[in-house]
């Protein structure tokens, strides 16, 4: 497990705790008392450090190298062997930064789509650091249309630093691909659940982010721009990222306060990466809950509601 710079204290205590356990196991000496004490100390420390996170620390947590990614969620919450990944946009190619396919959660079939990051250098390059090209958005749309055809609800998982800024991406119409996805998602005749599980940057996130319910995990963020790029554009240097993170009001809490999302999903103590299994359970429960909520509406009402929700967003005065 890797630790962030502000989590050093947690790392120390956790190591002590693990040491204690292994000593007990190896030597047979009764260390129970110490173990219990260390464990409660660990919990207290995490609570202390995670109880008052700055927006930048949230951004760091959202990018934690051990944090679960889209496929981790999909494979853990779907019934064994039910998820079949489907590839390609049927025009140009298969983008590895977006994954998707049908899968069963309990007895319900869903279309599960999300941006995917890699764990090591090779994988990261393969997944283009979770930054989709136009064919990724077009694959996502193709799969959503497939879901619509067979009346299956859609769940999207968002974890992206943005759409890829590249020559080929522009040639193949990155802007058009994102715009078209938003356009079509507005009108899809199946319920759409959007989960922001890590980074949610800019149009790249919105390209698969239109839905009836939008939820953010506690340590995720959603913004018009990443804190680093914001710092470069507005302050002229990249090292104002902490300040940018604060100014952008990008945390789940902020987004909930602004009424731009429906719910904040609590993560286990220490963050999603601290107890992945618990996290999967939570996400599964949430998806089923949302599915139940949305199935109360007929599609005509739901689409009208969806559009009106977006049309009403804005903050202005009139003289």
């Amino acid at each position: 497990m890797e630790y962030l710079d502000f989590e050093k204290e947690i790392q120390e205590i956790k190591n002590q705790y693990l040491n204690c356990l292994s000593i007990e196991e190896k030597s047979g000496v009764n260390m129970r008392e110490v173990c219990i004490q260390l464990k409660s100390k660990l919990e207290r420390t995490i609570k202390k450090l995670h109880g008052n996170l700055t927006p930048w620390q949230r951004v760091q947590l959202s990018r934690h190298p051990n944090r679960p990614y889209t496929l981790d969620y999909i494979l853990s919450i779907t019934k064994k062997d039910s998820f079949v990944e489907l590839h390609g946009d049927r025009f140009f190619g298969d983008d590895k930064a977006i994954v998707g396919g049908f899968g069963k959660i309990e007895d319900n079939t869903f279309m599960l789509i999300g941006t995917q990051k890699g764990r090591n250098t090779k994988e990261r390059q393969y997944r283009r650091f979770g930054m989709p090209n136009p064919e990724g958005y077009r694959k996502a749309l193709r799969l959503m249309k497939l879901a619509e055809k067979f009346h299956k609800p859609i769940v999207t998982f968002i974890d992206t630093p943005g759409a890829f800024p590249g020559i080929e991406a522009e040639m193949r119409g990155q802007g058009e691909a994102i715009g078209k996805n938003i356009y079509e998602m507005m009108c899809l005749t199946v319920p759409i659940i959007v989960l922001i599980i890590g980074e949610g940057a800019s149009g790249g996130a919105l390209g698969i982010g239109i839905g009836d319910i939008i939820s953010m995990m506690e340590n995720s963020w959603f913004s018009v721009i990443s804190p680093e790029s914001c710092s470069t554009i507005l302050w002229g240097k990249w090292d104002k990222k902490e300040k940018s993170a604060e100014a952008l009001k990008l945390t789940a809490e902020d987004m909930y306060k602004f009424n731009l999302i429906d719910e904040i999903i609590k993560e286990p103590l220490g963050g999603a990466h601290f107890s992945p299994k618990k996290t999967y359970k939570i996400i599964k429960k949430q998806i089923l809950k949302y599915h139940k909520q949305l199935s109360l509406y007929d599609m005509k009402t739901l689409i009208k509601k969806r559009k009106n929700k977006y049309i009403s967003i804005g903050c202005f005065n009139e003289q």
């Binding site: 802007g175 149009g203 804005g314 903050c315 202005f316």
Partner: protein, 279 residues
Amino acid sequence: MAWFLRKKKNILTPVDKKKDLPKGLWHRTPSGKIVDIEVLRKNSYVSPEDGYHVRIHSKEYFEILFDNGNFFEIDKKVISKDPIKWEDYKKYTDRIKEAKKKTNLYDAIRTGIGKIKGLDVVISCMDFSFIGGSMGSVVGEKISRAVKYCIEKRFPYILISKSGGARIMESSFSLMQMAKTIARLTQLRDSKIPYISVLTDPTTGGVTASYALLGDINIAEPGALIGFAGPRVIKETIGKSLPEGFQTSEFLMDHGFIDLISSRTELKKNIYNLVSMMM
């Protein structure tokens, strides 16, 4: 010493004795051609010498497109609030005040209702001079209302984009304007009313990724910069230099995203032609 050499260096005329030349009589195009402003104005601000399209504002577009320059403006005084209490080295509220003072505009878009060759139309036009033509809540709301008006009156909608993208100072609120404007455009589609998107220099970021490329017809002015990611960002990301003509109108047409490139002098005729055949 040669007689023509200056003995004393630097400029010695005091500032208050400086003779001012009247500004705005001539325009110099990037290729170095000097054009009389009056000639330029009569030619829809296109240089007759080299075809260069001078960046103009909503005021000039309305003059060029509406019959006799006649129109009435709706939703004029919708102004931005400061939803996230933004402050970089300047406060957002101060930026807006400054921009308002400098440009005499209320935000980066205006909507006019009038006629093109006798045909009723609604035109929204963005102003780059107002905080880089950035799209925030006001731009989103004004587009949303303009489209609603079009649906009610069954007037075709023409939207002239000229923008650096979403307005960072409104963060997620400006991001969501992409979704908001598109939600309205889906209603326009359902009503089967033509939507003409005109892309001018520059059209980038969140505007490109929302309404600008979703027109029933996408028209671009020649030589405009149009793209999703900015050229500098792309260059830095891939560490390679960019091909010539990258992200221009011509580039986009070659790759299939623009229906037609129209000189500004032909814009009115083209819009009229297309709309009258679609309605």
